[in-house]
Symmetry: C2
Subunit: 477 residues, 2 copies
Amino acid sequence: MTGDRPAAAVGSGRAPVIAGGDGDPVATEAAVAAYVAGGGYDRLPAPAVRVAKLAIRDCLGVILAGLAEPSGRIVADQVRAEAAVGTSTALGRGFTTSPAAAAFVNGTTAHALDFDDSHHPSMTHPTAVLLPALLAVAEQRASSGAELIAAYLYALDAATAIAGGINPDHYSAGWHPTATIGAIGAALGVARLLNHTAERTAHAVAIAANRASGMRSVFGSMGKAMNAGTAAQTGILAAALAERGFTGGSGVLAGFVEAHGGGALRLSHALDRSFTAAVGGLSIKRYPSCGVTQAPIEAALRLAATERVSEEIDEIICTVDPYVRRLVITHPPRTGTEARFNLEHCVTVALVDRMVGMAQFSDERVGDPRVRDLASRVRVRDRAGAAAGPDMRWPCVLRVVGTDGSAASAAVDAPAGRGFGELLPERELLAKFADCARWGGLADPEVAWLVTQLDQLETLPTVEPLTAALRRTPRRG
Amino acid sequence: MTGDRPAAAVGSGRAPVIAGGDGDPVATEAAVAAYVAGGGYDRLPAPAVRVAKLAIRDCLGVILAGLAEPSGRIVADQVRAEAAVGTSTALGRGFTTSPAAAAFVNGTTAHALDFDDSHHPSMTHPTAVLLPALLAVAEQRASSGAELIAAYLYALDAATAIAGGINPDHYSAGWHPTATIGAIGAALGVARLLNHTAERTAHAVAIAANRASGMRSVFGSMGKAMNAGTAAQTGILAAALAERGFTGGSGVLAGFVEAHGGGALRLSHALDRSFTAAVGGLSIKRYPSCGVTQAPIEAALRLAATERVSEEIDEIICTVDPYVRRLVITHPPRTGTEARFNLEHCVTVALVDRMVGMAQFSDERVGDPRVRDLASRVRVRDRAGAAAGPDMRWPCVLRVVGTDGSAASAAVDAPAGRGFGELLPERELLAKFADCARWGGLADPEVAWLVTQLDQLETLPTVEPLTAALRRTPRRG
């Protein structure tokens, strides 16, 4: 179970380094720690590195876009007042602090818009926790871009294997896996970045598992965003305490799974350095609004781009699963934040603006009489024969009827980039990043410079130029 | 449900302010917040104030005694390195920091020896969490001694009512209620100290409940001590974020209870400003060793004081419940820490030294050949007919047989000060405090000064003289 074992891939016929399944839970947690402690950059598969870099860039963009949200701003104010000493950047906030405090701020900001990536079937938002934790520590220790990527991938692999093994039970029991498993994943990643031994990594995991927190019952409050920040902060604290010799106990990860409604500790996929399940399960949202609005927006954009949609629209019929109505609940939306959970607004701005980015969810755009008028003509209908429960594909049929009697329709079975191993096209990811970064106050040359740097992240001797560039308070927010 | 309602006592025939039982959980959490937000010092019953002051003094003593333990020392080193700005004292560590960081250090130290008070039936160690949180904030805000006492009592009342209502289920599900309910109690107490409105108090509770953590599976590691520190830290952060306008969500406390295996939110006693259940359930340990060793030590001290125990002892027969063996598991003890969980050592030092305090658990005393020799002659036997599960009375019969054939025995049905509404006699509490404070490096005049100050705590205009006196690094540890 050390880093000396050759890399192996699922389905290649070679034995996995750590099998998932029904092993002894205490042995499993030791093996997870050894796997992460033994991981370096050199043997990472190139496709995994590519996805890691895209996820990291996307998350930085989402952080910039989320700077003005109150959850992250309040956490930043609290952290700034405490003024813990350190060189880790509170991104876009204009100050540095301790790694744990910076990660608390940046993680909260990363999840503030719910625009960060998600992972299936682990039911987590992994990067909004991992990146803030790793970046803050990488900045403190002058780690290289390659070390950052390796820590990200090993932690992503282990954390999604743990989360995938205990979900959906853990989620159903009331937990927010982004937060709970997030803390454990962050501890693993930071331990990797700090070159902890397997034993010290195991203590970091135990300390993090014992401190892990975050429940679904906070959804709808600022607490949801904070859960990503807390997890990042906890992961750093755990790895730092383990480095100082703090003992976290043995069997704590198994105890965590049991207490948190996950049954027994088991991994959903083998940890074998292929990273297939880890990066294949990642999905990046294209539009800064609730997940169930993605397919309707996509349908609207397709109609607006390819069909002749009448200038005078009589009505817009949006047919979705009954489950969708339980999530898009703000009628009518008064703010941009509320409009992210309003299907009528989402479809309308897609048709009118022929694009959906941060600007389509400004308070001004929500108050625009033309948008409000058209939104009032959207009818949401239940898809016949659809199940009442969640269908994570979120299918939609959109039909636009003109006052002249003309009609056009588009069907989207699942939003783009949501299938296993499928990401949005690079062009779309780049457009999202640029949109987010500009929304956060960056000028076009700064965006372009960042894109170049992040594209060659694995060659950077330290992450410092990146964090230095993102330190200042942007013009807006 | 406001502070304007008259005080009422259980059994007095007057209606309680907030009944426990089967109410709507969301209404119950709002009522708890209103109860604490509406509480002031003026109407506190004198007996409750007296117990609060004794508990506070005892906890300060235990913190001083625990300064040399590695758990608190490592946390202090981490916090010192982060150097958060603030005037709150890391007690006995020679520095000040932010309230949350100070509470993290002091709470961990308070629980490091497991010598702090406990509460039944809430199954919590309340003061090791509450006092560090409240003292750190009181120091920052220059609160008075009376305000500190009021915050302590209202939070104790509410937190033990919540914990009592969901235990033993919550405990059985794997949670460490000192940590989990501790965070909620600390948030309530700090919100009271900061004069939060009921609404803001409710947000503080929600934030704390969402961040609450701590499991039983860390018992035996430093994680157990850290759980008290984490809870104190979380309570302060939650109240501070609520003060800045952070929203924690509604129904989160009920969600917490559900996710944490507690069934539904219900209170074990009415919140009625009588504080009967809150202070009546407090129990303070006399000897700095595992709970199940308390009765055997008491029996040994009684024998040593009142019976003629032969100079030459042949064997010592210690008859206890079968459950006890599961807790006293270090054979033979190598360190003072291990000796706290070794029945043979505990009984031996009681017989030899005729007293059991911090000195009886030094590494030197554990290595003393005379102690080791006598400890080897202790035989632990199971009490006939006793249940295999925990009997929280921990009864014991001790029989000492001399080489001359003489024999003497003593039976202790339950350790002193463990019954409801029973505390150890003031003489014993004072001796414990002095022993602990001296162990922490304080000189006798300093101990005497502290006793006087704490005896008149409700008259102090600020707590600052107390914390200033406990700031410096003591001579030992």
